[in-house]
């Protein structure tokens, strides 16, 4: 068939074709002689508009545009883990082998390695009836993750042929299914899925289990549920990326999807290096065994940046459907929003706030709605937790991306410039941040850590609140004039801030702290506070207590007490009781 669809106009990454009627909206197309990947984003009776995912330098009017007949999709199958892709699922390692250190255009590489042999165990037999999402075979993708091959969601029918267990390549058929219309479909090791459509689940479940991160300020004060959504807004230099890295390294999800969306190249190489050296404490295997990286750095094509978070979430949903708990970090969603704005500007759409397109909120909502905990089609339970960094322009949280993200996420970990300037990390401001999951998770905490965990947490939070209002006074008249009981609040809050909220990501023990230790730390601090309060009430000056050095000691207990020696807290509590009883 002769292809009459040729380029008419070019404006940055946007290409138009005149008088074409065969394209579908959102269809994936190949543009030009180099076959650059693009997507149809607008159709009128005269012009078809395409956004091209690669640099358009050198394209000419008259160059061919070829349709693929399918929407922008990704290939799902074994080989996703321990891999690094660009925004449209092209493997960067394979591209490096093909074109060297600089990325050339139109690189034609398969998303997943189609030559590697996988050790497949077939789980069905002839005559079984399978519906969409059910598992027909499994294979070890990495030493710790079993990859479960599932019937594509829309398909169901009877298995008419199975292959023996053994080694197969990506596109080999391991079973054949006959659907209700008597059509036979080959089931291989992979399937395709359009990135802008969410994969179906049987039922959505409530968020009642926390995602444990080992970061004290998050786990105790602002916890997130498995399947929850969180936003980390912060100006540059406040540690968004560091916080994301810490979460990716330590949270108790089975699979980590890390999307570097319009971020720094050197940072991605750091992630690559650190994750491959880092040993997962649970499995004793490198982190990369359960990690997928999507790197679309800021200088890579802007349209692919827009696609990268959809690619990420689609991969996440795929692993969720296997019954895994997935956590996806997107760094940063502001870059994605800017990509939207940039393309919208090229299309000469009417801008809304700050030049962002009017559909920004609905796109954000669509994205965050794809997170969640669910009963998957195969019957088990899986979840996708979404943690998006937001880089507000000029550190101003009232800008549209932050404000709209706030509407669609239920955790808000606000990073604070002044904390970051004082090198208080994680610089999560305890007054501005919130978590709406706390009530949902309450039963879990009570069951697993006891009622006192919640009580301690509430008291810590109240002390911080009280300190904040006292600080208003201190700012005006200095701390000397405060009565001793208020000075004590300030002193205890200092211990909470320095000794508890502040956490050292580079310290072997402090980088990840189990919940049990977090609870004991709170208990010890509050014990000191209560005992000291009893003394202060008796009009004994606070300075006498401070001289004992207990406050300083507790500020450093995060380093002094190893994670595996919780019994040491008893000694601390006893020491506090004895030392304070000497004061009279």
């Amino acid at each position: 068939m002769e292809n009459n669809n040729v380029i008419y106009g070019i404006n940055g990454p946007v290409v138009t074709v005149k008088n074409a009627d065969s394209f579908e909206i959102m269809e994936m197309v190949y543009v030009g002689t180099q076959k650059l990947v693009g997507e149809i984003i607008g159709i009128t009776d005269e012009f078809t508009t395409i956004q091209v995912y690669e640099e358009t330098t050198g394209l000419k009017p008259g160059d061919p545009v070829e349709g693929t007949g399918a929407p922008m999709n990704v290939l799902l199958g074994p080989g996703i883990l321990d891999n690094i892709f660009d925004g449209i699922e092209r493997p960067l390692k394979a591209i490096e082998e093909q074109s060297g250190a600089f990325i050339s255009r139109g690189a034609a590489v398969s998303s997943l390695d189609d030559t590697k042999l996988w050790n497949v165990t077939v789980k069905v037999k002839v005559g079984d009836r399978l519906s969409g999402g059910q598992v027909y075979a499994t294979l070890p993708e990495t030493p710790i993750i079993e990859h479960r091959l599932m019937v594509p969601p829309a398909l169901s029918g009877e298995i008419v042929k199975v292959m023996p267990d053994g080694e197969y390549k990506l596109f080999d058929t391991v079973a054949v299914i006959r659907d209700d219309e008597n059509v036979e479909h080959n089931l291989t090791l992979c399937q395709k899925w359009p990135i802008r459509t969410s994969r179906p689940v049987r039922d959505r479940l409530s968020s009642s289990v926390p995602l444990i991160t080992g970061q004290r300020v998050i786990d105790t004060l602002f916890p997130i549920a498995k399947g929850g959504t969180a936003a980390i807004p912060g100006g540059f230099g406040t540690g968004k990326t560091m916080t994301q890295h810490q979460l990716a390294k330590w949270c108790d999800a089975d699979i980590i999807i890390y999307v570097g969306c319009g971020e720094r190249g050197n940072e991605m190489s750091q992630v690559l290096e650190e994750f491959s050296e880092l040993i997962d404490p649970k499995s004793q295997r490198p982190m990369t065994d359960r990690t997928v990286l999507i790197a679309n750095t800021s200088n890579m094509p802007v349209a692919a940046r827009e696609a990268s978070i959809y690619t990420g979430i689609t991969l996440g949903e795929y692993y969720r459907d296997m019954g895994y708990h997935v956590a996806m970090m997107a760094d940063s969603t502001s870059r994605w929003a800017e990509a939207l704005r940039e393309i919208s500007g090229r299309l000469e759409e009417m801008p809304a706030e700050e030049g962002f397109p009017a559909y920004l909120p609905s796109r954000l909502a669509e994205f965050y709605e794809r997170g969640g905990r669910a009963e998957v089609l195969s019957g088990g339970e899986g979840s996708v937790t979404l943690i998006g960094a937001v880089s507000p322009q000029g550190s101003d949280f009232s800008e549209p991306v932050t404000q709209n993200t706030k509407r669609f996420t239920r955790c808000f970990w606000a990073l604070d410039k002044s904390l970051a300037y004082a090198r208080h990390y994680p610089a999560i401001n305890w007054m501005d941040s919130y978590s709406e999951y706390f009530n949902d998770l309450d039963p879990w905490f009570r069951e697993n850590l006891g009622d006192d965990f919640i009580e301690y947490r509430n008291r810590i939070s109240a002390l911080l609140q009280e300190e904040s209002s006292l600080m208003e006074i201190v700012k005006l008249i200095g701390s000397d004039v405060l009565p001793d009981d208020q000075k004590l609040v300030i002193e205890t809050a200092r211990v909470i801030r320095v000794g508890f909220l502040q956490q050292n990501a580079f310290h072997a023990d402090d980088t990840y702290v189990p919940l049990e230790k977090q609870k004991l730390m709170m208990k010890t601090i509050l014990h000191l506070h209560e005992k000291a309060k009893d003394i202060v009430i008796r009009n004994i000056p606070l300075s006498k207590i401070i001289k004992l050095g207990l406050f300083d000691k507790l500020s450093k207990m995060k380093y002094d007490i190893p994670n595996n020696k919780p019994e040491m807290f008893d000694d601390y509590i006893e020491e506090i009781t004895t030392k304070l009883s000497t004061i009279s």
């Binding site: 008419y8 106009g9 070019i10 404006n11 005149k18 640099e55 358009t56 330098t57 050198g58 394209l59 000419k60 009017p61 690094i84 960067l92 591209i95 490096e96 250190a101 600089f102 990325i103 100006g235 540059f236 230099g237 570097g260 319009g262 190249g265 050197n266 190489s269 690559l272 290096e273 790197a295 750095t297 800021s298 200088n299 890579m300 802007v302 990509a339 704005r341 940039e342 919208s344 500007g345 801008p351 700050e354 030049g355 880089s391 322009q393 000029g394 550190s395 300037y421 004082a422 090198r423 208080h424 005006l476 008249i477 200095g478 701390s479 000397d480 320095v498 300083d552 450093k556 380093y559």
Partner: protein, 457 residues
């Protein structure tokens, strides 16, 4: 067959519109000959069928609807490259202006470059000793990093940049494989001369490539200058294995040129009238710093930008800060107190520092010391704001200590001579000496082992 297209259809700012042009490719370079014999260059920025929009680098003055002949060159903007380029002076579009003739190209490269594959990058870890206490100790510059200087009009960013170039000791670099690429965008002639003179005095002039787009040069050419500079830098670093320091001043002028071009093209403006793609555009420059596997060379960038009205939330410093790996912020009040370099410590940052310092690079206590200095200095600021309300006399004894520490820190640590080159040990020891004026219990970022060793209070 070479066709000359006669005349243009429309002239708008630096853009010309032509109709009936066939076979043109996106971003292609065209030669425009005027009746009076001069030739200008332009770049294809938009194509709609046979109607094309060309951006003329030298501006559209003297162009009428009839007096031009335009010829397509068939290729995008390319930069001729050869080892001889070292030591040359070029204009903003990469053409020699030192009277030494054309550069005989060994190869030509597209000035837009191509993105470095993140997989091929080496994570930068080797620090560059600049001999400046604040930078070395608190915001260490790393080989392959992009660390901008955020400054304001009238501040001493140029002196600081010159001092860095003069004192920079890059491990693995010596006089044979070290080079500087200097790109001036919209700066005054005096500034360019100052840099030239300083390079001469420090004996690196023969290893510098200068690209000069001065403030009276065509504005559109300014959008090419950093691209040409970085293309040269990449060539020297990744093909000739040199360590290249790229200094780009002033990025604000560059962004303004981009805004001018964007508005004449009729694009929808983003914040403060800058085009919506300013972030991507700046990223396409800054991200060209780094090191890649298989090559021993490196590209380190020090872009200088003047913050309009000293406002760090202005789009240019704001977007720059989101792309670069930290920033060195200069402060007008420090300069007002006669301190040099007026580095404002708290908002300054080097993101790559944590992996490039410590045992084996600088000294084991470096990270802890830096954290403590930041934390203590932050308290100085709190104490000062309190003092401004209740008076210094009323402060608690600890706060008074902080005020004292703040004065010492600024006058001894931040302040240093323009020609004073402090070794890393000197800077770190000085840091401990100053911290020793504070009570030991206040130093909560350092563990006892280090305190026993270094605290002398």
């Amino acid at each position: 067959m070479i066709i000359d297209y006669v005349g243009v259809k429309e002239i708008n700012g630096s853009l010309i519109v032509m109709d009936g042009v066939k076979g043109v490719s996106n971003e292609e370079i065209v030669d425009i000959s005027l009746d009076n014999g001069t030739v200008r260059q332009g770049r294809m920025v938009q194509i709609e069928g046979e109607k094309i929009v060309i951006q003329v680098f030298e501006g559209t003055r003297r162009i009428s609807l009839k007096n031009t002949r335009t010829r397509l060159t068939g290729h995008p903007m390319e930069m001729p490259l050869s080892p001889e380029i070292i030591g040359r002076v070029l204009d903003g579009a990469g053409r020699p202006i030192d009277g030494l003739g054309d550069i005989f190209p060994v190869k030509k490269a597209n000035i837009n470059g191509t993105p470095i594959n993140p997989v091929s990058r080496i994570y930068p870890k080797n620090y560059i000793n600049t001999g400046i206490s604040t930078i070395d100790t608190l915001m260490t510059l790393i080989r392959g990093q992009k660390l901008p200087i955020f400054s304001g009009s009238g501040m001493k960013h140029n002196d600081l940049a010159v001092q860095i170039v003069r004192q920079a000791k890059i491990s693995g670099a010596d006089s044979t494989n070290f080079g500087v690429v200097f790109a001036a965008m919209g700066v005054q002639k005096d500034v360019a001369e100052y840099f030239k003179k300083s390079f001469e005095e420090s004996g690196v002039l023969s290893r510098v490539v200068m690209l000069l787009n001065l403030s009276n040069d065509p504005i559109i050419e300014r959008t090419l200058t950093p691209r040409c500079a970085l293309t040269i830098a990449e060539y020297l670093a990744f093909e000739l294995d040199m360590h290249i320091l790229v200094i780009m001043t002033d990025m604000t002028s560059y962004a303004e040129a981009l805004r001018e071009f964007s508005s004449s093209k009729g694009e929808i403006p983003g914040r403060k009238g800058y085009p919506g793609y300013l972030y991507s555009d700046l990223a396409s420059l800054y991200e060209r710093a780094g090191m890649i596997k298989g090559h021993s060379g490196s590209v380190t960038q020090i872009p200088i930008l003047t913050m309009p009205n000293d406002d760090i939330t202005h789009p240019i410093p704001d977007l720059t800060g989101y792309i670069t790996e930290g920033q060195i912020v200069l402060d007008r009040s420090l300069q007002g107190q006669g301190l040099y370099p007026p580095v404002s410590v708290l908002p300054s940052l080097s993101r790559l520092m944590k992996d490039g310092i410590g045992e084996g690079y600088t000294r084991g206590d470096h990270q802890a010391l830096a954290n403590q200095l930041f934390a203590s200095y932050a308290k100085v600021i709190d104490a000062r704001s309190l003092a401004s309300v209740i008076g210094e006399e009323e402060l608690s004894p600890t706060d008074k200590k902080y005020i004292e520490f703040g004065k010492l820190f600024e006058s001894k640590f931040v302040n240093q001579g323009f020609s004073e080159n402090r070794s890393i040990e000197q800077s770190l020891d000085l840091g401990w000496e100053l911290l020793s004026t504070l009570p030991r219990a206040e130093l909560d970022r350092v563990d006892d082992e280090l305190l026993d060793r270094y605290y002398k209070g």
